[in-house]
Amino acid sequence: MDCHKKALELMHKHLDGDITRAEEHELKVHLEECLACQKHLHELKRTVTLIQSTERIKAPEGFASKVMDQLPIEKKRVRYLRWFKMHPVLTAAAIFFIFMLTGLFSVWEKDTQLMVSNPENLIVKGDLVIVPEGVTVDGDLVVQNGNLRIDGTVDGNVTLINGKLVDETDVLDSDGLMASVGAVNGELKEVDAVFEWVWYHIQNLVKGVFAFGD
């Protein structure tokens, strides 16, 4: 009787997978001579199989959306950002229309006066902006509605909106200039048309929005 009890305990250990080799041997020896225990183990294994054979139940229709409806409202910022990231083209278009609605083209009109992003140490003569010799502009330089002459150095990207890069004597192409006069340690970009100007602003805006999100 005690012997069966021990065997029963070993059977459950066997089913749970934490039986030692010695115990397993002990159980085997007992099972070989005890039909009752053999039957018992068979029934236990069959029980497990029967439990596992039961049908899986599915959640009711619309379960997930009901859960989603009950969640607390997420932060708006995250929701907008996700939308922007999923629809970059639409975002650009939306921003474009916002520009239009808020009087983009009147801004464009006003924008015809000369603007320099960081005028410190630069010389302005009429519509000509000069980076003097020996002067280094630390960072990006944006000149709007004016021409730019670089005798010194720009440590960053140069963007010219509605303007050209010139040298002392004449208007040259940018490649020639960059070789002959001051240095631009970055990209040189010229933006002339109004649409390019708009596009430039949209890109900056979109970049800004995404930078804000991260």
Binding site: H12, I51, S53, T54, I57, A59, A64, E74, V78
Partner: protein
């Protein structure tokens, strides 16, 4: 799959609510089944299963990503079902028996699943019988039997889900198996 869920959880933690919908979709059947088998009542099961997901979402920041998400989720669901069982008034079972609906409706749900071919009918009756035997087990055995054999958790994981010592899990699973063996040995 675990990897995708892991990624989704990260997004949820960042505040992306839609990522949570995928998590719900992935676990809804399992969690609902668990609640239904624990509670034996469809309305209560749906209620509690939804509550489990909502709590998981609200408390997502307390989930430790080094651990298995399913273990954490089941722990929430199990606690809620145990709580609900405890809160039931003693006459709940009496009413249920008189009406003959509650506690049995999961079988009728199965039975209602479209018309079945002849040879599956016998299988269905057997199914119903087995489910009934599981449902009649005391809940402390029932939860462990389900977590082990229907939801494939290890004994260690079950001990974490139920927050009881592994020795207790072993004792209970032995007793649960023995109880079911007695009921199912003649089928």
């Amino acid at each position: 799959m675990e990897l995708i869920i892991r990624e989704k959880i990260k997004q949820v933690k960042k505040g992306d609510q839609t990522a949570f919908e995928d998590v719900v979709m992935f676990y809804q059947d399992k969690i609902y089944q668990h609640c239904l088998r624990m509670l034996g009542n469809q309305h209560e099961a749906e209620d509690i299963a939804q509550e489990a997901f909502i709590r998981a979402y609200v408390n997502i920041h307390s989930y430790d990503e080094r651990r298995k998400f399913s273990t954490w989720l089941y722990r929430i669901a199990t606690n809620l079902t145990i709580d609900r069982l405890r809160k039931r008034k003693p006459d709940y079972y009496l009413d249920a028996e008189v009406k003959g609906t509650d506690g049995l409706d999961m079988y009728s749900q199965l039975a209602a699943d479209e018309k079945l071919p002849e040879d599956e009918l016998e299988g269905l009756e057997l199914q119903t019988y087995i489910q009934k035997q599981i449902a009649e087990l005391p809940s402390k055995y029932r939860s462990i039997i389900m977590l082990r054999y229907l939801e494939d958790f290890s004994l260690q994981e079950i001990s974490e889900i139920l927050d009881i010592p592994i020795g207790t899990v072993k004792t209970r699973i032995h007793r649960g198996r023995e109880a079911l063996r007695k009921k199912l040995r003649h089928v």
